[in-house]
Structures are given as C-alpha cells and as structure tokens.
Symmetry: C2
Subunit: 277 residues, 2 copies
C-alpha cells in the first residue's frame, strides 16, 4: 500500500514479535474507496468486530478506526483501504498474553477499475486444484492466514483468467480465491454455505439483500462442483468489483444471465458504480 | 525473542507489506538450543526446505541459515531459536510477485527446562473444543498460520494442564496444540497420519526412528478420540521437550508406560537430555 499507519502513526513496519506475523493471530478488511469515500465501511467494521469477538480479542476502537479510514480515503478517487487488527506483541508461544494490546494498521493505495469486459462479457473462471481448508471455528471471518488462496492463485499466470474457484476436500464449492461465488438456477440465487469455510463477503451480503428486495429467493447451500449445470448463471462478487458474471468456466462459454444483469443494475443504483450497464 | 536478525542484520521489525504478515505466506522452525548448540538443526533445515518447495518459493540460503542459527545459539546454554522464512514484500493481492525475494528472520531467546514432573509423572492433557483445519495442500509443514492452535490454547488457563489435544472435524486425533501425539497399544507405536493436517515434527520423526531401532512396530493411523483405550500409553513430543508422557487425560490418571520410558531413555542417550530418567 502507498501509506500505512500503525495505531494512528505513519509506519512502514510491524514488530517481528507481533502475533499477526508470528501466528496469523488477527483479521483484516479490504474496503473499496470511491471518490474519496470508503464504501460499506460500517458493514466492514461490523464484520471485523464479529471476528475480533470470535478470536477473543479486546474490542477495536471502532469510531477511531472509522475516522482513520475515512480521513485516509479522502485523497483517493479510486482506491483500496485495508485494515489489519492483530492481537499485538507477545512472548513466544501460541498462548495469548493475559492482557493483549491489539495493534491496528490502516493502509491505502490507489487502484484502477477492472476492465469493462469483465462486467459486460464476463470473466473466465478457472477451477483450482488447491483445495481450501475447512474449519467451522473461523469460517466466515477474514483471518490473516490466506495461504490456501495464495497457493490457488499461484496456479495460473494467464491474464485472461480473472479468478479461480476453490473447492473443499469433498469437491464442494466454497468460493473464489478472492471472491464469493453465486449461481442462479430456476429463478433462485444460490451461494455456498459458509458453515465450514469461506469468507462472509460484504458484497455477498449486499447482493443477497438486493435479490430478496426484488423477490428472488436466496439459498445458502452445499453444491458439488460437478453439479453445476450448463444453463446456471454464474457470477462472483467482492467489495472491490461488485459483480463479475462468469463468461467462461470449464471450457464452456456462457452469456451473462438475466438475473445477474438485474442484480448488477440494482448494485449500480445502490452505489456500486462499476456494475452499471 | 531476545534477539532477531532479518536477512542477517539485527532487527526488531518486518515491513508491513511482507507477505508473511499480510497472508501467512511463509514457514517457520523452532529449534531447541542446548549448551550453545542448535539441536537437530539439519533436520529442521530439511523440513524447511521441503516447505519452501511446496510453497513454490526460491530456495533458502541453507548454509548461511545454518551459520546464522549456530552463531546466535553459541551464547545460550538453554534456549529456543526460531527461523521464519516469508515470500518477502509484495504488492496487494494474493498473487505472488513473479520474482519474489524471500525474507529470512532468525531469533533466539533463553528458556527454562520444563518441570521434572512432566517427565516423571506425566502431564495433564486437555481435550480441546477447537478443531484443527484440514488441508492436504499444506499438511505436515510448519506454515505461519497457526490461529487454530492459538484458539485451542486459549481454552484453558490452568497451569496444571500442559497441553491440549486437537481433533479434526470428524473427531479424529491430529496432534497437540504444540506437539505431536503418540499412543502405544499391543507393543505398537501409533501416531496420527499427517495426510490432511498436523506438523511433521522433528521429534516425532526421531521417536519413530528410535522405536524402529529397538524393534517396536510403528504405525501412522487415523484414530477417533473415543477409540483411545484406558490401557494405551499416551505421550506427546516436540523439539523443545522431547517426550512428555500423558499422566492424566479425560478424568483418568495414567502411569507413564514401559514403552514410553524406553523411548525416553533412548532419546536421552541420543542427546535429548531432558528425557533422562
């Protein structure tokens, strides 16, 4: 990131004894910044707070965090803000200090909109070999340990492939490497359950809410990769991109579908401008 | 740790953009130091190299690393050395840089021998509620993401409980939070398979080798926690402790068994002095 602040002070480093570095003992959020404003900031802070509670860490100073992200974002027309919260420094060993002093880092970097054709014709989605770890204890949260995603993302170099789909050990779909996955079948919007893996994406929740608002049934489900059908509409979501329809998957081209397009129009109207037709 | 060196230079911090911190994209080793010498250093470096290959990172400078650990260890009668290797700094996103420049950190801290009664009467072992993530892609390696172990270790405060046993989602035993687990039944030494979770401990391998040397059959197996029997000998191992017999588990006291004691004598003779009778 171009600029980082640690506990409110401009900083480029973190102590080696930080438990986030030593053990992945922390969480992060990645927030889209548009025209100087962090998008869905409240929702990101709520998810962060839920993760902090799950990890048994002291509450984050939420209003200070919000102020900090907002003030950093002000100078950026199109960018990405990142929050990292760790359990702070500690002695050697997995056991957390009795009174941990969490460390917070906020960073920001300018970014570019994704190519228009990702929205118009849809992306090519790869099926990754690397499976995703399953653990109900941390499923849904954006914990620091992302090695599965790193290994999956290292499987391809082809710039034509925008995202990779990750399965659990049984071959059931969990998510993209950096996105949530949806399919539309029989007028119903379906997305993998997050009971044992995956991240509860802010854009995922937004899309589900938009779908319900226009009378589309929404189902969280467990689906084997081989059970996707040729006439399912497929798309992926994340905070930075909104919705990308899947235009190609497993050697088959697909047209962005009608429900997908409706949801993209709804998102665009709700402020996710990248999704405008 | 008392002293850290990063790429050979004394240092207390790591760049925030290090992928080890951002994504858990790295590995570590924890090496016992006794009378100024790092124990089983070659075996640790071999495991590290295997993990580096699995992660697709450039090879570590093994002889420089060995020299560094050895020279840091020289001043410590009883201590712990830690090596951390990350994929180095990179831009935002899971995708690794095309030409990553790994970062290596070596730290050392003085420590204390565990209480004698851990060896003589055995430890109390807790059964943890937190399950361990499973993923064949990284099973066996000591990757930086240790949040499962952190959460499991946070389940108890009682200083009488020295270790916690972790199960996978199906209730099968994987390991302790910081140790490998063994049980002895019908003159056979059994330990959980590492096919989908757990760390291939250096002391685990040493104990298995010692067992074979004295004609004890060794089996890697998948065992449900409820299938442990009252007359099984139980013990845990790691590089720092050697062997700790389990003296109490699930409300039942146990005497350290004959095979466990034989293996402790063997280890002590092989240089793991803590295990001497």
């Amino acid at each position: 990131m171009t600029v980082w602040r640690t506990d409110g002070v401009t900083s480029e480093t973190v102590p080696i004894d930080d438990r986030g570095f030593q053990y992945g003992d922390g969480l992060f959020e990645t927030i889209a910044v548009r025209r100087g404003v962090p998008r869905y900031l409240d929702a990101h802070l709520r998810r962060l707070a839920a993760g902090i509670a799950r990890l048994g860490m002291p509450r984050a100073p939420e209003s200070a965090l919000a102020d900090e992200v907002t003030s950093l974002a002000a100078g950026y027309d199109f960018g990405v803000a990142k929050i990292i919260i760790t359990r702070g420094s500690g002695p050697r060993g997995y056991r957390a200090p009795a009174a941990p002093v969490p460390r917070r880092m906020v960073g920001i970097v300018a970014s570019e909109p994704a190519p228009r054709q990702h929205y118009e014709r849809g992306i090519e989605l790869r099926l990754c070999r690397t499976r995703i770890s399953t653990n109900p204890a941390t499923a849904g949260f954006k914990t620091l340990g992302r090695l599965d995603q790193v290994l999956a993302r290292s499987e391809w170099d082809d710039p034509q492939i925008a995202e990779g789909l990750m399965l659990d050990a049984e071959g059931c779909i969990v998510s993209g490497t950096m996105s949530n996955f949806f399919f539309v079948r029989d007028e119903c919007l379906c997305t993998p359950s997050l009971a044992s893996a995956g991240v509860a994406g802010i854009m995922r929740a937004t899309v589900m809410e938009q779908a319900r608002d226009i009378g589309i049934a929404v189902r969280e489900t467990r689906v084997h990769c081989n059970d996707l059908r040729d006439d399912d509409e497929l798309f992926v979501t994340n905070s930075q991109i909104g919705i990308w329809p899947v235009g190609r998957f497993r050697d088959r081209s697909r047209e962005p579908g009608a429900v997908t397009r409706s949801l993209m129009r709804r998102l665009a109207a709700a402020g996710v401008e990248e999704c405008r037709p």
